[in-house]
Each structure stands twice: as structure tokens, then as C-alpha cells.
Amino acid sequence: MLTTLLILLPLVAALVVWAAPLPREATAALAVLVALVEVVLWAVALAGFDFGSSALQDSAQHEWFSDLGVQYLVGFYGFSLWLAGLTVVLGAAAIGYGAWAGRERSRAYFGLMLFLVGAVVGVFASQDLLLFYVFFEAMLIPIYVLVGVWGGPNRVSATVTFVIYTMAGSLLMLASIVAFGLSQGTFSLIEAGTSGNDWIFLGFTAAFAVKAPLLPFHGWLRAAYTESPPEVAALLSGVVSKAAVFGFVWIVLPHFPGPVDDWRTLLLVLAAGGLVYGSLLAFRQPDVRGVVAYSSMGQMGLITLGIFATNDLGLDGAVLHSVSHGLVSAAMFLLAGMLIERTGTDRFDRLGGLAKGRPALATLVMTVGMFTLAVPGSSNFAGEFAILAGVFDRGWGYAAVGAAAIVLAAMYTLRLVSAILHRARGEAVRDEARDLGIAELALVVPLVALLLALSVWPAAISERSFPGDAPAATISEAAP
């Protein structure tokens, strides 16, 4: 019931926002309120969650069409509850940012944002393959319009590329869902067994590889992340990409153990390649959002390394790092948006010297930067460490590449921080560009606070993602 509520509340609120002729302030207030209620609902779910149990919790079931055995089946496991939590928190921050920035056509805008949050929560909650596909695709609709209407000057071509890439991946997944579901006799992820069919496996993997994105499938990434409004980019890199994590962990690993073994080397190489290549590209970007976009690609590669290590350390680290990376990249995108509001640009050659007289901005950019480069002691460091330790089992080379990429992360992050805050004052930086205000702090500080909390206690997630102490065993047992 709680899960259904978590999914439906934003969707219904979206319909209300679209239909009710409210003025702009009221619409924004309603959307923010719903987003906050959503966080509270999730906290209630968290409070009542039994992390020791390996059963589906807060589940709800309803027949959809029995002809092919498709049903509405939702619920949470430990790791998916964390991903859903990331979604509702970032959703609230992004909607709050939209309210702060005063988006045009507010009813359409806030409705779409709420719809997106509901759809992403649905992705992490679904336990039926077709339902998963429904939410996976439903995410695309609001993203398409949000980028296409409220985005930057090249928004139209960005949306076309994004939609074609992701749809190509997800339609291959639809073919795989048909084949897998019919051959298993059920579409339920809980009842379905394992399959050794490489083609079906590849269909699923393609969809998630595009969504993440892994190395050769990242063509949509830069345009989509930089042409989006910053808060939409925050959701895209923070939570939408995590749909790939859910898919890899809960669909691919348990149901295709044979093909995962056969293709593991390729996937690990692509993931490691993405990590290095994304980090190198991030180092070459001329603007804040470009850096965060490619850094995101690199970090998703790292997370994928942890997933396909398929051992306890790797999986625990992947979930922890998914949450930390989501918080970090969302905070970075929101900060980039605030910079753009002040200076009209996020290009490094026109910025610089912003630290002087703007302590709050400087502190936040610096802090988030430290998390991005995974300074020891941070939750990102904990996650990366667990992933690298996990993937070390599969070959020391992956771990070495991963460690090298962390150095690259330090390079591009420090370049970003110094280009914004230090150096000579950029031409776009005027005296009127003030420090962050209360409203802006209220958006970013909670994200940083959560990161700090996770740094103090990373085990909150890494020890509570999979029941018992052995995620790899849990996953292989998930398929009967």
C-alpha cells in the first residue's frame, strides 16, 4: 500500500497540477509540498523496513491481464528502497529548484516533474517485467518535454538524440521481455527462473547500457545533460541513470547467470573503458555541466564494474556509490544552475574568482568537489573502495584502471573548482553576482548533509542493501 502510494501520489498530483487552473506560486507550492510529503512517506517506509528479511516488503499486487500473466506487482528490497529514497530526495530538491528559478508555464512544468518522480519510483519498485518496462518508458515522456521545452538553445536536437538512443535500447528490451516472459511462463521477477539465452540477455543489457551509459552508448549524454535545465540534468544523472543499476542488479544478474559469466569480461572492459574515457573527457570539457556530465558517465562505469564483479563487496559498493554519486552529481548540477542564474554562463573561460566575498558558494562547491573526487573518508571513497576491492577478485587490472581513474577524477574536479572559485576574476562575474541565498542553501545543504551523514556511516547503506551478509548469494537465490 505504501509503495503504491509512493508511486501514485506524484502521478495523481501531476494530474491535479495539469488540470487545476492554479496561479504560478500556488502550483509551485503544491508541487514542493507533494515532493516533501513523498520524502516523508519514504521515511515511513524506511522506518518500518526489515533489512534482515529477504522477502519483498511493502508489496502490493493486482492482476493486470491474466491472459499473458502480467500483473501490477510492486515492493521494495533493501537496495531498491535506497534507490527510491535517492529519487524522492533529489526529486524534492529538483522541484524546489524549479520553484526557486520560477519556470515558465508552471503548470505543465511542475506536473511533468512530479510525473517523472513517480515514474522513477515506479521503476525501482516494480517486480513485474512489463510493469518495469512501463515505468522505464514512462520516465522518457516527461524528460523529453522537460528538456525540449525548458532546455537550452540546442534542446531539440538533444532530445531527438536522447530519445532515439534510449528507445532503441528499451525496444530491444521489450523484445527480450516478450521472449523471456513467454519462455518462462511468467513476467514476475520473483517467480521467473534463469535463462541461458544470450540474445535475451543482450537485449536487456543494451537497454541498461544506454541508460547508464556504458562506453559506446554515450552519444546522447553530453547534449542531454548540458541542454537540460539544471534541475532536470540533476534528476537525469542522479536517479534516471540508476534505473540501469536496478536493471543490472535485479534483472540481469539473477536471471542470466550463465550469460553474465560468458560476457563478464566484455562488460567489465566496457565499464572500465567508460570510467577512463568519461574521466578523460570530463577533464577536457569547457563548462561545468560538461564536466559533471562526463564525470557521471565515468562514475556509472565504476558502478557497473562493481555490479559485474558479482561479489559481496562489489555489489555493496555499487549500491552505496549509486546513492553517493546521485547526491553529488545532483548537487553539482544545481550549483551549476545557480552559477548560470548569476553569471549567465557556466563556461570556465568566462568564470573565475567567485570565491572572493561569496563564502557559502565557495564552501559548497569545494565540499561537493571533495566528494566528487572521493576524498578519503567520504561516502564516495567508501563506495569506490568497496567496488575496487570487489572487482580486484575478477582481475587486478580492473582495479588498477579504476584506481587510475580516481586520480583523473581528482584532476578534473580540482580543475573545475579552481576555474570557478579561484584564478583571476572572469569577465562574466560581476559584483551583482551575490552569494547563495537562504532558498538556495535550503536546496543544496540537505544534499551535502546527507553525504556527510553517509560518510560517517556508510554501512547504513552498504550493510543494508541486501539481507544477510552476502548480496551475491541473495541475488543468485532470487531466481528460484
Binding site: 491481464f65 531539440v156 516478450v178 521472449a179
Partner: protein
């Protein structure tokens, strides 16, 4: 000598014929109205009568559906009374009703009575067509609704495009009918039978004549369903015909032709399934490829939708090629959201056309979504429905079609269908892009012709109903599939 040897008159099951007869009656009354009712009240009168005819036909067909758990053959086995026919009739009647609603706002000055009479007559012909049980009634039904549509297409005599479209449709359509007739003759020659059930049981199935007959019948039906490579008339006719007529044709003609194709192939030619299922699969691929590629480059929205309807026919043919009960269900399910989205999309085009009084292209759609949010969002829903996005029945339809193909072992058809869907997204979203992602047009040439158009509640109701069906078929799959299951049970799978 027995002089009074009675001439056996067949027993007539009037209930089974009543849906078609209701529309025939409506058509007659409209024609009378064209003469007797004063010009001022003529539009209201004819539209009401035609609408009432479609409602009556739909209700009667639903009643027949309820009362016909078993197939019975009527009138010397020339007609059938079964649930497949009845379900198709309900769908067609609903499409007709929506078409009447879309037509209401047409600023048509002359031929008002005739227009609605022809719409009702075309509807009646389709209802007759889907309950045909032998090759003779099949041809009769086909010609009945086709002739009405030829005239409807050319009815806007002041527009050259309309006349041209009517002529093209007449020539190409007659060619298709002739092919169907030729195929029927060859089949009759090979088996000596006309009835679908009788053909199945007749000897002589090995003759080459018979197979040629089958091929020609399939081709004839493919003309009507605008299946590639028999689709060349479609873009011109869809573009030239009055938009309300196009809306009706795109939903109803295709539905009727595909349901009949399924019935003929499965009932009369099960022995040749290995031949025709490959042929149908090839036609499906041709439609998907040609329809999609041609739609990609269209600027005129009606032409784009015409090519899109070719590619949609490809998806539905995949379901027929499966040659399984699941395939039958997939086809019947797919038709419902497809028909609603198609009618609705042309209705939105009609709305824009009436504002601008010139053709609707992607350029003239710019900013329309923000100007008329209801029509804009509705159009968006229809495009998502065509493209198979979630929260529309189009997605469930595609899922069913792919499931049917996979179950029948046609996995490569699934792959082609998936690729075709991915390509189609480009042109479906082009409409959304034009409507929402370009600035609201400040161009003087996009000013509304003759001032702000009057409210058209009938058109809005039609579009609203189409949205409700497109979205509703996503949520209420189970009841529809149950209906489709009952309907398919009347076929000898």
C-alpha cells in the same frame, strides 16, 4: 407434376442483419432529409440521424455479440453470425459515431444530407463486410462501402485535391476490387465452392489455380487495408479527402479489411497456412519498411499519418501472420487503441485545418500545443499511442503483437517490429516537437482565418473520447482481451 413446388426462401435472422440494416435506414432517412428538410436544419437533422444510426448499430451488434456464443451461418451460408463479426461491428460503429462528431464542425455548405447519408452507408457496408461468409458477399460488402467512400473522398468538389483523390481512389480501388474478384473466381474454379467453410473442406486444394486465387484475394484485401506494396493510393487519398472522411477511413476501413483478412485466411485457407503466413509476414515487413521510411520525410501531417497508417498495418499483419488464437486476440486488441488514436489525430488535424483554412503541415502546427492545450495534449497522447509508449493502449497492443509473433516462432518479425517502432518514434515525436517545442508562432500567416473559430463541442467530445479509449485500453486490458478471446473463438484455429 407439382406446380406449386415451393421455392425455398431462406430463413432470415433479422437480428444478425440488424446492425447493417440500421445504418442503411439511417442513410435512407438522411437522403430523404436532403430533399425534404429545410436547408437551415439539414445539417443538424442529418448528423443526428447518422449518429443515431451508428449508436443503434453499435448497440444491436453488442446485443448480437451477447447472444451468439456459437457461430451460425445465415441466408444460404452467405453470412455469418458470430462474435468476431459482432465485435468488429461494435468497433466500426464506434468509429463511425466519432467520425460523425468530427464532421459536425465542417463548414460544408452543400451536399450536407448526402454527406451524412454516405457516411452511414459506408458504415453499413463495413458492418455487412465483416459478417460476410462467402466470396460473393465479401465482394458485395467491399464494393458497398468502397463506392460510398469514393464519393465521400471527392465530395468537396470545389477543391481540386479532393477531386483528384477521389479519382485516384476510384481507379486504384476498383483495380483492387477486380483483383479480389479475380481471385474469388479462381478459388471458385478450383474448389467449386464460395463459402469460406466449404472452401476449407473442398478437395482441389493442391491446384495451382487455388493458390493463385488465395494470393489474389490476399492482395485485394491488402489494397483496402493499405498494406504495402498496395498502398500507393493511401497518401494522396488521405491528404485529399475531407479530413473527417480520412479519419473514418483510417480507422474503420483498415479495421474492417484486417478483420476480414484474418477471417478469410483462417477459415478458408488453413491448409495453406504455411504459404500465406509467410506471405503475410512479407507484407508486414514491406509495410513497416515502406511506411516508416516514407513517413520520415513527410511535411504534411495528413500524409505523414497516411504513411504511418501503412506501417501500423504492418504491425497488425504480424498478428495475422502468427496464425494463432493469441495472434487473433492481438489483432483485435491492437485495432481498438489504433482506431481511437487514428480518428483522434485526424480530428485534431481537422481542428487546425478549420482554423487556418489551409493544409496542416509540421510548420503550420508550430506552437499549436500551447495555443490549444487540450488539442495539443490529445495529439500528444495519440502520437504516443501510435509509437507504443506506456500509458496508452498502443503499448499493450505492440506487446501483444510481439508476444503472438514470438509464440508462433517468428522471432525475426519481433526484431523487425522493434526496429520499426524505434524509427517511427522520430516522426511521431516530430508532431509533438512542432506543437510544443517551437515558439508560439508570431507569424502573421498562421493567424486564424476569419477570427477565432467558434467552439466545437462535438469535435472536442470526439477527441476526448478518442483520448479516453487510447489511455483506457492501457488500464483495462483484461476485459477487452476477454471480449477478443470470445470473438476469436468463432474462428477455426
Amino acid at each position: 407434376m407439382i406446380l406449386g413446388a415451393s421455392i425455398a426462401t431462406p430463413r432470415v435472422d433479422w437480428l444478425a442483419l440488424s446492425p447493417a440494416l440500421a445504418l442503411l435506414a439511417a442513410s435512407t432517412i438522411c437522403l430523404l432529409g436532403a430533399v425534404l428538410v429545410p436547408a437551415l436544419a439539414r445539417r443538424a437533422f442529418s448528423a443526428t440521424v447518422a449518429g443515431a444510426g451508428f449508436v443503434t448499430a453499435g448497440v444491436l451488434a453488442a446485443f448480437v455479440f451477447d447472444r451468439s456464443p456459437e457461430q451460425t451461418l445465415l441466408i444460404a451460408e452467405s453470412m455469418t453470425r458470430d462474435r468476431l463479426a459482432a465485435l468488429a461491428q461494435v468497433v466500426l460503429a464506434a468509429a463511425g459515431l466519432l467520425a460523425v462528431l468530427v464532421s459536425w464542425g465542417d463548414r460544408r455548405r452543400d451536399h450536407v444530407g448526402e454527406y451524412y447519408a454516405l457516411v452511414a452507408a459506408a458504415g453499413g457496408g463495413m458492418l455487412f463486410f465483416v459478417s460476410a461468409e462467402n466470396l460473393m458477399t465479401l465482394f458485395l460488402g467491399l464494393e458497398w462501402f468502397s463506392i460510398a467512400l469514393y464519393i465521400l473522398t471527392a465530395l468537396d468538389t470545389h477543391r481540386k485535391a479532393s477531386l483528384e483523390a477521389g479519382l485516384k481512389y476510384l481507379i486504384v480501388g476498383s483495380f483492387g476490387s477486380a483483383i479480389l474478384l479475380f481471385g474469388s473466381a479462381l478459388t471458385y474454379g478450383a474448389t467449386g465452392e464460395l463459402g469460406f467453410n466449404a472452401i476449407r473442406e473442398a478437395p482441389g486444394a493442391d491446384e495451382p489455380l487455388f493458390v493463385v486465387g488465395l494470393a489474389l484475394i490476399l492482395a485485394g484485401l491488402a489494397f483496402k487495408a493499405s498494406v504495402a506494396p498496395f498502398h500507393m493510393w493511401t497518401p494522396d487519398v488521405y491528404q485529399g479527402a475531407p479530413t473527417a472522411v480520412t479519419a473514418f477511413m483510417s480507422a474503420a476501413t483498415k479495421a474492417a479489411a484486417l478483420v476480414v483478412t484474418l477471417r478469410v485466411l483462417v477459415t478458408a485457407f488453413p491448409e495453406q497456412a504455411e504459404i500465406w503466413s509467410v506471405a503475410v509476414a512479407v507484407l508486414a515487413v514491406a509495410s513497416l519498411v515502406i511506411g516508416n521510411l516514407a513517413a520520415l520525410v513527410q511535411k504534411d501531417v495528413k500524409r505523414m499519418l497516411a504513411y504511418s497508417s501503412v506501417s501500423q498495418a504492418g504491425f497488425m499483419l504480424i498478428a495475422i501472420a502468427a496464425n494463432t488464437p493469441l495472434g487473433g486476440r492481438a489483432l483485435l486488441f491492437y485495432l481498438i487503441p489504433y482506431g481511437a488514436a487514428s480518428l483522434g489525430a485526424f480530428a485534431v488535424v481537422a481542428a487546425r485545418e478549420r482554423e487556418l483554412e489551409r493544409p496542416v503541415t509540421l510548420t503550420t502546427m508550430e506552437g499549436y500545443g500551447w495555443e490549444r492545450p487540450f488539442y495539443g495534449v490529445a495529439m500528444w497522447v495519440f502520437m504516443l499511442g501510435f509509437a507504443g509508449f506506456p500509458l496508452t493502449g498502443g503499448m499493450i497492443g505492440k506487446f501483444y503483437v510481439f508476444s503472438a509473433a514470438y509464440e508462433a516462432g517468428w522471432w525475426w518479425l519481433v526484431v523487425i517490429g522493434v526496429i520499426a517502432t524505434a524509427v517511427s518514434i522520430y516522426y511521431y515525436l516530430a508532431v509533438v516537437r512542432a506543437m510544443f517545442m517551437r515558439p508560439v508562432s508570431a507569424r502573421a500567416d498562421l493567424a486564424v482565418a476569419g477570427g477565432s473559430p467558434p467552439m466545437d463541442p462535438a469535435l472536442s467530445a470526439a477527441i476526448g473520447a478518442a483520448v479516453a479509449v487510447t489511455v483506457g485500453t492501457f488500464f483495462f486490458v483484461e476485459p477487452l482481451v476477454e471480449l477478443a478471446k470470445d470473438a476469436v473463438a468463432s474462428l477455426p484455429f
